[in-house]
């Protein structure tokens, strides 16, 4: 494939790209499902869970040091 043909193909592909925010009416269920799921995943880890893990670790450290004594 020549460089020129490839360039033309690239242009055709970009031409068909879906604009952000304009969901076609027949958008697949699977894509919506992943979008919904990923939106929650991207919220990251709430601080309460980081604090909880810190506390659990600390509690474990204390128990262990008691055992050593």
């Amino acid at each position: 494939m020549s460089d020129e043909t490839r360039k033309k193909q690239d242009m055709t592909i970009s031409h068909h790209e879906i604009k952000p925010g304009s969901m076609p009416p027949n958008a697949s269920i699977s894509r919506k499902l992943r979008e919904f799921y990923d939106a929650v995943q991207e919220e990251g880890i709430p601080d309460r869970f980081l604090d909880l893990l810190e506390k659990l670790e600390e509690a474990e450290r204390n128990t262990n040091s008691v055992k050593v004594k």
Binding site: L33, F36, Y37, L53
Partner: protein, 187 residues
């Protein structure tokens, strides 16, 4: 530093890495963020207390999902005995502020997802969004692989019906369905 301390660090690191995915699963199951976070908290505590029962090197994500799922259903059963009102539980899922449904364009999808039976919802989430193979999803749900496949397929049909869209997509490893559809309607 003892070996146990090194292992603990690995455990915490892997747990943290799985948390966003685990939390998204909890939101999918409960239908709301506040309940989901309580469920995740219970799961973290259970997992921490039982970390000796986790075999290092095996799939921690699947292990955590199994704990969360068991916790969810045992809490549902407890609540069911207290309330004895499934209609109440159902309407509770919808009595949330709009922002709890997240992004506006996904609210319709979220509502449709909420209308699925629990077993179908969890199957399609595990395979279609959380990234598990059918076999792993079957282990997490404690059922046969064939059961997961049929639940996913029923969930997909129901969602298409509810949202009035054509299903050109496929879920997870099962591409057969979409291929048949496009052959039948492709002309």
């Amino acid at each position: 530093m003892t070996m146990t301390e090194i292992d603990d660090r690995g455990f915490k690191r892997d747990l943290l890495a799985s948390l966003p995915n685990l939390r998204a699963f909890a939101v999918s199951l409960t239908g709301r963020h506040d309940k989901a976070d309580d469920l995740v908290q219970d799961t973290i505590m259970k997992a921490w207390a039982n970390q000796t029962s986790f075999t290092a090197g095996t799939n921690m994500r699947a292990w955590l999902f199994t704990i969360l799922r068991n916790e969810f259903y045992s809490q549902m059963r407890k609540r069911g005995r207290e309330v004895q009102d499934t209609d109440g539980l159902f309407s509770e899922r919808f009595s949330v502020h709009p922002e709890q449904y997240g992004r506006l364009d996904l609210q319709d999808f979220r509502k449709a997802l909420d209308k699925l039976p629990d077993d179908q919802r969890e199957a399609i989430i595990l395979v279609g969004a959380a990234g598990f193979a059918y076999e792993e999803a079957a282990t997490i749900c404690g059922c046969a692989v064939g059961t997961i496949k049929s639940r996913v397929s029923r969930a997909r049909s129901r969602l298409q019906e509810l949202l009035g869209v054509s299903g050109e997509g496929e879920f997870g490893p099962d591409a057969g369905h979409a291929a048949i559809t496009s052959r039948a309607f492709g002309g």
